[in-house]
């Protein structure tokens, strides 16, 4: 009986892990952290597919309304890091999705979050991961680290 319970727990845990996907993102690069983390959280590369990162890196001077341009050498290093650690291309869109918050995965993960949470001034926008994900700066997005501000 005990063996069955242990086996069942392990199966459930691994199923949950596969269903939810990875929640701790460990890929890191100092140039990426310094540049991409200077105005917002350096979003884990796994959250977008390679073609999205490529599109973003070619349009840095018009980065969601701001000039985020870097020199060619820095761009090359960051680009390689992002594409190497990118996530699967889950959205079958013709054009690459540029906003992490527009991906099907993100919407699914946050479909239980009330609209009022996004409007809370302490959160301000869905791009502000750290408002709720207290471990975001460490790449920790696990449920246990979430504290939704009131």
């Amino acid at each position: 009986m005990k063996t069955v319970l242990i086996a069942a727990t392990l199966l459930a845990a691994s199923a949950a892990a596969h269903a939810d996907g990875q929640k701790t993102f460990t890929a890191t690069n100092p140039t990426w952290q310094a540049e991409c983390g200077s105005c917002h959280l350096a979003y884990p590369p796994q959250l977008l597919p390679a073609r999205s990162w490529r599109a973003l890196m070619t349009g840095l001077d018009k980065h969601f309304g701001s000039d985020a341009s870097v020199d060619a050498k820095t761009a090359a290093e960051i680009g390689v890091f992002l594409e190497k650690n990118a996530g699967r291309d889950r959205d079958a869109t013709a054009k690459p999705v540029l906003r992490i918050t527009d991906t099907g995965w993100f919407r699914h993960e946050h479909d239980e979050v009330a609209a009022s949470v996004w409007r809370n001034p302490k959160v301000k926008s869905a791009a502000n991961c750290a408002a709720c994900h207290t471990g975001a700066a460490r790449g920790d997005f696990n449920e246990h680290s979430i504290r939704i501000p009131r």
Partner: protein, 136 residues
């Protein structure tokens, strides 16, 4: 062994004086002045008052420098859109400011594009720096 300790002591002494190899805000002001003289032969110096006015007004778009760096750049600011904390901009509050040529050039390029839709002139950069250096 004693020779190693002397060498280490010397290295420590040199490294404790950052100006030994880092640039300083005053260095940047001198560079801006040289450029400003080339841009406009009638160059008449930098003005902290003019820099403050420039810093705190919008220039055609929604944001001014103060939108992120605040009305009192000796305090920490935050990104106007993302709320990401920004270390104080005034050198007196943050000794790391205006010490690396590449970093200063990069941020002036980006932020002037955002605020003014163009590069800032050396006059404007110098005025802003004069203002920031005047803050205690």
């Amino acid at each position: 062994m004693k020779r190693n300790r002397i060498a280490l002591g010397f290295i420590a002494a040199v490294m404790s004086v950052p100006q030994a190899w880092a640039e300083t805000p005053a260095d940047f002001l001198r560079t801006f002045e040289a450029s400003a003289r080339q841009e406009a032969p009638g160059f008449a110096g930098f003005s902290a008052a003019r820099g403050e006015a420039f810093f705190k007004t919008t220039h055609g778009n929604d944001w001014s420098c103060a939108s992120c760096h605040t009305q009192r750049p000796t305090q920490a600011g935050k990104h106007a859109k993302t709320d990401k904390p920004i270390e104080p901009l005034a050198p007196a509050a943050n000794p790391a400011r205006f010490t690396q040529q590449a970093k200063v050039a990069k941020w002036f390029k980006r932020n002037c594009n955002d605020v003014l839709n163009r590069a800032c002139t050396a006059q404007e950069q110098g005025d802003v720096l004069a203002y920031l250096m005047s803050l205690k």
